[in-house]
Symmetry: C2
Subunit: 335 residues, 2 copies
Amino acid sequence: VDAFFDEGQAHAARFGAEYRALWTALRSAGEGGRRLRPALVCDAYAAFGGTEPAVAERVGEAVELLHTAFVVHDDVIDHDERRRGRLNVSGIFAHRAADAGARPAAATSYGQAAGILAGDLALVGAIALLTTAPTDARVGARLVALVHEAVRTSAAGELDDVHLGLGTRVPTLDETLAVAAHKTAAYSFALPLQAGALAAGASQEDLAVVGLVGHRLGTAFQLCDDLLGVFGDEQVTGKSTVSDLREGKMTALIAWAARTSAWPAVAAHLGDPALSAAQAATLRSLLEGCGARAAVERLVEQHVHAARDLARTVGLDAVVDRVTALATTDAGRAA
Amino acid sequence: VDAFFDEGQAHAARFGAEYRALWTALRSAGEGGRRLRPALVCDAYAAFGGTEPAVAERVGEAVELLHTAFVVHDDVIDHDERRRGRLNVSGIFAHRAADAGARPAAATSYGQAAGILAGDLALVGAIALLTTAPTDARVGARLVALVHEAVRTSAAGELDDVHLGLGTRVPTLDETLAVAAHKTAAYSFALPLQAGALAAGASQEDLAVVGLVGHRLGTAFQLCDDLLGVFGDEQVTGKSTVSDLREGKMTALIAWAARTSAWPAVAAHLGDPALSAAQAATLRSLLEGCGARAAVERLVEQHVHAARDLARTVGLDAVVDRVTALATTDAGRAA
């Protein structure tokens, strides 16, 4: 992705200080991740016999840039000004405005504007990277169509996720699984695996199977995320085990608990922004006692199992094993 | 663009009610405009000898969809929930959330989320439309590069515009002209003219001239907008002549006035959200008396004149005449 950012920054040099700072912030947003998605592209490309690493790399960069776009827009949607302990694009620009003398509300709005625009730049950049990928034009067009489909599906998942976050009702377990599949699995797992396979010349039938592998794997990954967000080891994962509970995040755990007799006790504290450590511990016991934890762990196993069975038929077993190791352990998530 | 929306809505049918409503709202956001940009694409295509109307139409649709994306994101950035007297995407979704029982702040956030996601869908859709345009692959790639460049330039203009809107300082006249050129002229005028010319096989040299025509024409168009926003005939244009003054919008008129002795009197009332009709009339007299109105009218003439001179060299005179008639008259703006 270096070439993309170098070119963007060269273009930005012709404009003012704000726009140049936007590119610096966007570049920094794209750095420091685990680059799981490019690895999935390369793995699938190799598994389907691809022989030009430059193709898989370019496609991987495009998918990673798409991820950056979603992360930046997601932070605007969630009103977050920090990510991984640092200011994100919106946070950096809110501070710039405040330092220039803007009032707090105006500074926040400026941060949001910067986040929206930076995400737009990454989104368009991701597609543009694909159109110049060193593949034949027909494959290039199909790659764009694949990304287009993934953008649509993840928009549907993101919208439903925000809708559930309104807290006006408790979702069903199926609804939370659909959000995991649409918001996370589609673009973070199915897309990179399918894009790698497609670039290597996989058949339409194999692509469909690869998509299902990604769907299963990504859903399992998101469910693990939900589990670690409540029951994980903060010291190892670096992820708070209180904030999901304080936010009242409508995960599969919560959807399960809502069907049990523990629900009134859970609902009494869930989503309390001032939730204490002791109250969080009580919530954890309730979610464990009512069977929610075990049920979601079982769902993870089922999805991983299904992913593995499907993966075997298209030679992607090793990929599933590696991702599963990453997804299901505290240490893997911290990596 | 019908095919794009039909396909998007068919895809959305597999998802929940919220996402289906997002496509309905996005489609409605794309309707009812004057379709100035597709007309510019077709004019330039014809002027450079293009013979396949389907190509110009597809490129025009892509540019119009890009415009829809920018409008929708712009409304999120400006916290607007209405456009042309109707609820926009954000407004529709804020109401959906409120009707479902969400609190006002959560409903507003949901509206913003919907606007961001809808704009993303239109943005990606615009590029995808180009990649399937019935042109040869090399032209297709150059069209994508052209749109990519326009997205970058307009993001720079939009960011600077929001930055100036913070009201922490008064911009120079050159800064307001740069915003007009980057935010408006680049994607609404230079892009459609260049894309039409490129699709018809124009040379690199001619494309550069066409870009300058669009730059001049679009800047003139924006300056006219600024003039009509203060001195226009509301009855004819349908555009308020008070809201720019109430917002304290940092236009070329204001930048000019800031260098004159009338400035303290202008600054005393500019940006007052409760500005009365009488105070607005006083501001208008001040902006007229200090020479700001005449100066901006002169700038419009200069830009139109330069556009016409350039256009003559590439056979685009008729286009400039038509746009100028649209841009500079109250009646034209209302059309």
